[in-house]
Point group: C2
């Protein structure tokens, strides 16, 4: 459907069967979804918690290539939103999903798509609460709305970074953008396993969901890196009314990305501004450095200090000698 799952209007023919077969099992872990047999879900938010809501829409051939396995498309759809929730300090709990599908999407595709969701539900502890499925003559359009929980009033915002705060980032940066180029036939000189690694990172990001909630009480501000490290950092600096300086050599990259950078140093721009990273960027007061490292260790997430905030405006990137590196095209825009 899920028309009849949470919104029965405008049912697609045969969708009741699809709901029962493919989607209802995904809602087994959400009591308030009522087996996707009703028009709405009823969610109970624990006292003392706020509901954190984030939503994303991805379009075939714009936000993903279209030839990915349905399992991977499902993972990407869910994970880009889990990345947002984690960066706000929320523990993910539920999600709703709206699928606009052309006729060529058959049951085999849906089965694989839902298998991808099922695996990620186990991995991240979330359950389907409802949704809607409709037909379209255009490309596949997938919307996912994620619901997380955070202590009341404590949601992490982009604003809040202070002069003197250190700039931390999780995981490695640049793999998604380089992976997209690999998937489009680029970097053919790269060895097979490195290309495959990068493509996998593009197709199926791994946001540090386990670390998110631990950042509340540690970070002054946080957001996820999805439109490119520098572009997103510009938003954080602007919202916080501070200036950010990034040490390029401190930005963590994967072995595969390092291999590309050693051959093509000018690809640093792709790494720093390419997007599709789905990592967390956090402003951490110096006295909380040990706390952030300890929380990251406990969550099994790599973190690195890549710069700092100071009085002023804007973002600059410095090389090992403290010289500014010009970074073109900050942020990534899907056309």
């Amino acid at each position: 459907m899920m028309s009849p799952m949470i919104s029965k209007p405008m049912t697609v023919s045969g969708e009741f069967q699809r709901i029962a077969r493919f989607f209802a099992p995904l809602a087994a872990g959400c009591d308030g979804a009522d087996g996707l047999t009703d028009d709405a879900a009823s969610l109970t938010v624990p006292v003392g918690q706020d509901l954190i809501v984030s939503t994303d829409t991805i379009v075939e051939k714009t936000h993903y290539l279209g030839h990915e396995k349905p399992e991977a498309i499902a993972s990407k759809l869910l994970r880009v939103t889990l990345s947002d929730l984690a960066s706000k300090g929320a523990v993910p709990a539920w999600y709703t999903m709206n699928l606009a599908l052309p006729g060529r999407i058959d049951d085999a595709w849906l089965e694989a798509f839902c298998a991808g969701l099922a695996a990620d539900q186990d991995r991240y502890g979330v359950a389907l609460a409802g949704g809607d499925t409709v037909k379209t003559d255009g490309p596949v359009v997938l919307t996912l709305t994620g619901f997380g929980l955070a202590p009341a009033g404590k949601v992490l915002r982009r604003r809040g970074a202070k002069p003197g705060d250190l700039l931390y980032v999780t995981g490695t940066i640049g793999d998604g953008a380089l992976g997209l180029e690999c998937a489009r036939g680029g970097f053919l000189e790269l060895d097979w396993s490195a290309r495959n690694f990068l493509i996998g990172r593009y197709e199926r990001p791994e946001p540090p969901v386990g670390l998110g909630a631990a950042l509340i009480g540690i970070a002054d501000a946080a957001m996820d890196v999805s439109d490119g490290l520098i572009g997103d950092l510009m938003h954080m600096a602007e919202a916080s009314d501070v200036r950010a300086v990034v040490q390029a050599t401190a930005v963590p990259v994967s072995d595969a990305a390092a291999e590309i950078l050693s051959e093509c140093p000018d690809r640093l721009t792709t790494v720093l501004s390419g997007g599709d990273d789905y990592q967390i960027l956090a402003a951490v007061p110096p006295e909380k450095e040990e706390a952030v490292r300890s929380a990251a260790k406990e969550a099994g997430v790599a973190v690195a200090c890549i710069g700092e905030f100071m009085e002023g405006k804007g973002v600059s990137v410095q090389d090992a000698d403290g010289q500014d590196i010009p970074i073109a095209q900050p942020g990534y825009s899907h056309s």
Copy 2:
């Protein structure tokens, strides 16, 4: 937008400006939306309340014709979900919105679309909490997720109707389906004002949002009528494991619909099964009849008793002589 509004990933070029100009004003009434400048909204659900969530996707040329005014499309998008929330006994509070828009959708369209939303926000007391806007090469695909509040554990379900309960419906039935035919050039013999009335009901339904919450404690079961009275009633009967009998002559119709029925009595099927009504169907115990009528009066909503529930299965429709009327094609499916 609203990428950066609640989900900044995958930003469409120029969307930051669109968010600030068109969408941020709609979020002024939702503190937790943070002016649509962050990746997620933070919603506070009052203690003792559950969050009721319903979501719908509508596609240009499938769920609306495409030539409607953008204001009306916006209203329909919002109201079909408010109809679901009301039928579950929820008071609407917030919504998120995901727009997949082809390049031909310009700022003038968006401005009118958002004006329609602004007017409905005032009318129904809701505010925008977040969303996402992306580009598509296909038709416009609009998703709206509505959030309402209901006393904890009291959400009205389709299940719960008991033998002996009376079947109540709000407003008039059939206008939406007949209006769609008018909009497609049908019923040309009908006078101008009647056709316009019906088209208006199709384009801009008026769900009885004010009555919803009052039904908690009165109705044993409720749902909204959107796929056709008979088809939706079949779902309620099945979920409740009871049989429903509808008195055809008791089903409330508008003057315009009555005019059509007097000329074409076989259009009763369209009225009873056509869909797009966005009214509430409720199972009311006989001892609550006065309560439901009094609540409806207070909300300024018309209600009518159109039948009853009994032991058994299925739905039947009877004429004034108690004879079964065969109703073909129960429920409406958008192809």
